[in-house]
Symmetry: D2
């Protein structure tokens, strides 16, 4: 297991879906960063289900800060946060404990943990573990915002419906998305996506989607090739988020069908600064930020828990057997995952900036 | 800079395109693995240009082993390999040293290295640095093959032309690809792709492509969530390869438009073993291998060096200025990149297997 | 800040002396290891003061397990433990908050954290942070014991009084020390040491000491030179323990005055196994265990908090000023530190063994 | 094997005593640092034997720079250096290849590498591997000197003879030691030590010693507790150096016998700066530099290769057998090890400073 990530700024996650608590330890953040409980609570609420779209787990998701914050500011020492679990229905899982849920980690966890893992609610493989990431991310996002670096994510696609992409300079769009429970730029797309989700739920099925994230204000010169390119480190953390199966930067896979003359972003001088006229590279050249907005797209597979019957295997009997996953589950998680993406990106950028410019870089100016 | 990657098995890369040498240090490989100079030379040759497709740099690319190999076998100590550079034409670069080449790292390297980096041929950002990765990868591929684990990559798309995908059990296809200079499954696609490359070259332009890689024989239970999922670690190294802008596993981005009932791979018992009927997840569930073939797709942007005129900036004058990149360059690198992908994947798997099963796991049975 | 240590098995510490809680996240432990709450409580109690020797902080030091343990056994996922603080007297510190306590981290913490660190009770620099290490260590010690590896530490010197050293095969001595509140081999030395501590307390002063640790049962072949020699990794964690200023292995500094013919441990065959006749090297050759008992000595400086008046600086006024440290403090910590040393050594060995033999190595045999 | 060390600035070592070459990759050094071949050669010469004291291996030890240096300055990319081996007498080793040399890694290497390691001259366990460390260290020392940070080491003890200790402000002493082939402060001690070495050689035996190192000019606030205290990271690398068996900071083990009132360094204001009146803590409080000189002592065991007959085991026969180590070997290495200590300390400080203040910190001011 490797539940810590980051070098200068690192995050460690812990917890099981139905255990005592989930949470994180955020280490290496500069001292002096404001920790606002209201903002923390707001970010946690974005990770929870939208009530019209699912039968959500009713967790207060109250974050308790155990260390590293003093008089409302980070101290520079490790910040442990915990979110106690409640409202657990382990009985739901007991019935089908020996049936492998397709699309879940049930089988691979059995092999790796030899049957000792907590099976309830997916245990440590549950999406609930992202609560700790979001708590850590809230502090990272605050620190970056103080430096003029803003991160945001919208649902670029869901259930086959597409939103319009971010505009070339998306700062205002990022601000506008900050509090949206269902983060979409185009209202019509939002309505259509939500209809698809409800339709899937009615069919006992689920849908996936694509997140598009952007970062404005990141200075040029951040990234540590050869191996710790910005793309490498960002994709590393994004692929850690459950259900992510693809990541691309800038025009990503579409670049593979272009010619060089179309793909290359032309340089020009603008107000004395070097900029590019297009941003097909997503703000990254040679693995290092070039000062243009970062653009990242993340593919989210459909929620694996569906009530439709699926072929499976009963590990107790060794026989093929159908499974219908009962209990509380979401027909879509893409709208909940967007704050997870923001948080993950923020943590990476805090780490890369602190490596590049020192451990005091994120400290507010006095 | 972060030029080392891996935990139990690690690789460190060094070198500049026009410096004395490029190469690697491969550390942590088990003792006793055969190092065959013929195989090493063959792998290096796959990384070089196909003569009909480009005006290649004529490097012998002879690998000199400085340490870590004794009597033809790895000793368990670090293996330093060097490939001396020759045939360098630095004069080609001097003419345009102050003009930022679009799509290249010229601008970001200036910001990061304050003008001290070796500019010739892209310096440490050159694709030539992958020679060290291929040398290390040759030993990793040998070690894995001894354990029944086979890795291979074909050009799934190039210049807009698509190859057929790997079949569900691609072991034979992987073997067949091993020595192909232009690795494609469907001969007609190969011809069409090469025509596209030649066409782009004639236009002073370039093309990109998509690589599809597969791994057969990887045991279930490999991967270290939460953060070191197989997808995370594989994408990390793949995004380190110059020109890579997208990575997806299994059906990747296509999964985002499916319903759960379509995306989930049904389980079933086959000859006493748990398998899945489809493999949309690409052999990875919960970040851990499930025993099915790994499937990975990597998007390669078009080669940024093109002779067509492009808008740029002259850093000496601070003025906008057109650039036409002269000198030796490839109209496509996708066919050369496939052995780099194989090597990168092999190094990650050696690391993950050694972490999981111990540092002697890759040692041949006596 | 770097509050995580270890590679395959890692521990992350968090907490401040007077914050909400202190604790740890232990990651990478094999699944199936028994977690016995009684043993955990016993280990925690060894870290607390002996009532006759100090005016101890009366903490219950109850460990609450938040994750990673299911049905009394480790699951293989991260184990977060917390020990809530109570009985804090921050008012004691407010009076002298601007006076630098000699021998403490007050000054260096100010420089590093720019005044944002929690000053009460030393904050994150308090010896109380070792409570998390001891909690993690209890699980590590249990896992090792199951594999026949036993660790123990006695007070080799305190206040100038010396205990007798471990015998060549100290396994029985290690067992005997397990529950001792004041761990000494020679009862007379124990009495004399405690007299020295009480004498120092009466004088408003403090004493230091030396710990001698031993490990029996560690297999040969563990250690990862060049840089991760057993000595390197053990000293790394031992020097993290507050107040440690020296570490030596085997005969350590005394070896520097010997001739080679005296220092070299002669090899011989005993019952078919290679052993050494002496063990001046402390069980480590070339940075790798040789199967003989490990022997480690750790120097502990005197507790810096003393009530005697000392010259200092008032950071608010920038003037020289005398300080007398008031409040609860120990005239010695060497007897409390021994369980910290055991825990630290155990965590390192779990990590090194898991790296060497795989992540399942510490899993109990079924 | 773990042959890389460091986080922001890292060094990777490779090579075997009798292989093609030994060397290093130094990664993460800031761009713009001068690389002076004369200084590099001088440092390498300090690592070689003093001819009056041993029958030295006559290596030119010419350092060839393969990458990372352009026009005499570091580029910011990895610096690979190689030192070709010559003058190897592998035949010397063949005779006794199955006899375990007491005090050497022969036995532990067999267990760990299963007989595949290069046995000649100790292979990767040879002191010759430190040549790569010294080459890397030369660049690190240059970078630090530019920032006013000076490092030096003298032989505090050898063969039972003691040098006088460094004075409280040892900067001038450090400068004076820079080029000394036998680095001692007190000339009489030097003569006596060398007599002891020659005496030991005549007896077919060897001696050890103690190194005292000091660092002047290190700013306060460097060190990353809890786990990466300055003591932790420095001891980690020092214990990687072959033959080191003890490390202490400040008064080290002697502190354990003091009272707190004697051990604590009083603070006072001097010219507006906080200083301590004594420096028993060796410039480190709470694991963080306090601006006073660092003081480090390192115990070196006697060279294990002696020609006197010693009891051993023949691994081919499994029988006890006497061994007399023939071939070239030093009766002492302490005078050669001092430049290795300087280099190791310099590499750690470059890493810690770059982590603390950013990757450009060591770049010279323009």
């Amino acid at each position: 297991m490797k539940n810590s990530f980051g070098s200068s700024v690192s995050v460690t996650l812990y917890g099981e879906s139905h255990g005592a608590a989930v949470g994180c330890v955020l280490d290496g953040m500069a001292p002096g960063i404001s920790v606002d409980e209201g903002y923390l609570a707001k970010q946690m609420s974005l990770r929870r289900s939208v009530s019209s779209l699912s039968t959500p787990r009713k967790e207060a998701d109250k974050v308790r800060i155990l260390s590293g914050v003093y008089q409302g500011k980070t101290t520079g020492t490790p910040i442990c946060m915990m979110i106690e679990n409640g409202n657990t229905h382990s009985a739901d899982y007991a019935k089908t404990a020996d049936l492998l849920r397709p699309g879940h980690a049930d089988y691979t966890a059995r092999i790796k943990y030899h049957g000792y893992a907590d099976p309830n609610g997916g245990g440590h493989f549950s999406g609930r573990i992202t609560a700790g990431l979001v708590a850590a991310g809230a502090i990272a996002l605050t620190a970056l915002r103080e430096k003029g670096i803003v991160i945001g994510t919208h649902i670029a696609a869901c259930g086959g419906v597409c939103d319009r992409p971010f505009s070339p300079d998306p700062r205002a769009e990022l601000e506008a998305l900050a509090d949206a429970p269902f983060a979409v730029l185009d209202e019509a797309a939002s309505t259509a996506m939500q209809a698809k989700i409800i339709e899937a739920r009615a069919a006992g099925d689920s849908v996936g989607g694509i997140l598009e994230s952007a970062v404005c204000g990141l200075p040029a010169g951040v990234g540590e090739p050869w191996f710790d390119t910005l793309e490498s480190v960002l994709s590393h953390i994004l692929f850690s988020i459950p259900a992510v199966k693809g990541v691309e930067f800038g025009d990503g896979f579409a670049l593979s069908a272009m010619r060089g003359s179309e793909a290359n972003d032309p340089f020009r001088i603008e107000n004395g600064a070097v900029v590019t006229s297009t941003n097909r590279m997503g703000g990254i050249l040679g693995g290092i930020s070039n000062g243009m907005p970062l653009r990242i797209r993340t593919a989210i597979k459909p929620t694996p828990s569906i009530s439709l019957s699926q072929p499976s295997v009963n590990m107790a009997t060794g026989e093929n057997e159908e499974i219908s996953v009962v209990g509380r589950h979401d027909p879509a998680i893409v709208h909940r995952a967007r704050v997870v993406a923001d948080s993950a990106i923020a943590l990476v950028l805090c780490d890369m900036l602190s490596l590049r410019f020192g451990t005091d870089y994120l400290k507010p100016n006095d």
